[in-house]
């Protein structure tokens, strides 16, 4: 599951009928340097390519979401659906302590 920030939505009048009722979010995947202030500040768009993610749990703009890619994105749907990225979590908090900031308090070894 990759992590990204919702930066917009797409609206399509002509689309595959299996998408009926779905929302498509524009998500910019986060870089490692942005994880320390992930859920607290609005972050600039990263250089990674923006992903269009199908969403049925109601993520809004500015939310930090986790999205699953590949065949697993179609697993929750009863009928076949042509998507390859699905929003599966809206993060309230992300605690990030990279290995470079290791000290004797936060890590046993």
């Amino acid at each position: 599951m990759r992590i990204g920030q919702v930066i917009g939505r797409t609206v399509m009048s002509v689309q595959d009928p299996s998408f009926k009722g779905g929302r498509f979010l524009l998500v910019s995947p986060l870089d490692a340097s942005q994880f320390s202030q992930a859920c607290s500040a609005k972050m600039p768009v990263t250089a990674q390519s923006t992903v269009v993610v199908y969403d049925n749990i109601g993520a809004g703009e500015g939310d930090v979401i986790g999205f699953s890619e590949g065949a697993e994105a179609t697993a929750p749907f009863p009928s076949p659906i042509a998507i390859d990225a699905l929003c599966i979590a809206i993060f309230d908090r992300i605690d990030y302590t990279p290995f470079s900031e290791k000290n004797e308090f936060n890590s046993p070894n």
């Binding site: 995947p29 749990i57 699953s68 890619e69 697993e72 979590a89 992300i94 990030y96 936060n106």
Partner: protein
């Protein structure tokens, strides 16, 4: 399977039903010589891996669905084991 290091955790109250109640750990993929590759991703963990421990992460969706025994689960990455020692044999 990837070798990764746990670099944090994530809390999501609003998520897919198969994810609720599972620990979501931030993992940073490690290359040779523990070089960090790419951005951290989230994997679910049932074995209680600690912070900065090196783990084996599987990216097999079928195994993940079997692990949470929910066929409609969109999870793909899960912690398969905690690495005690990894030895690289130079080619």
């Amino acid at each position: 399977m990837l070798i990764a290091r746990i670099v944090g955790n994530a809390i999501a109250t609003h998520c897919h039903s198969s994810l609720s109640g599972k620990k979501l750990l931030l993992c940073q993929q490690l290359g040779d010589g523990d070089a960090e590759i790419g951005a951290p991703f989230v994997a679910i963990d049932l074995f209680g891996a600690g912070l900065h421990e090196r783990v084996l992460v599987s990216t097999d969706g079928l195994g993940a669905r079997h692990l949470v025994d929910d066929d409609t689960s969109p999870i793909r990455m899960f912690v398969q084991g905690i690495i005690d020692e990894a030895e690289e044999i130079p080619a």
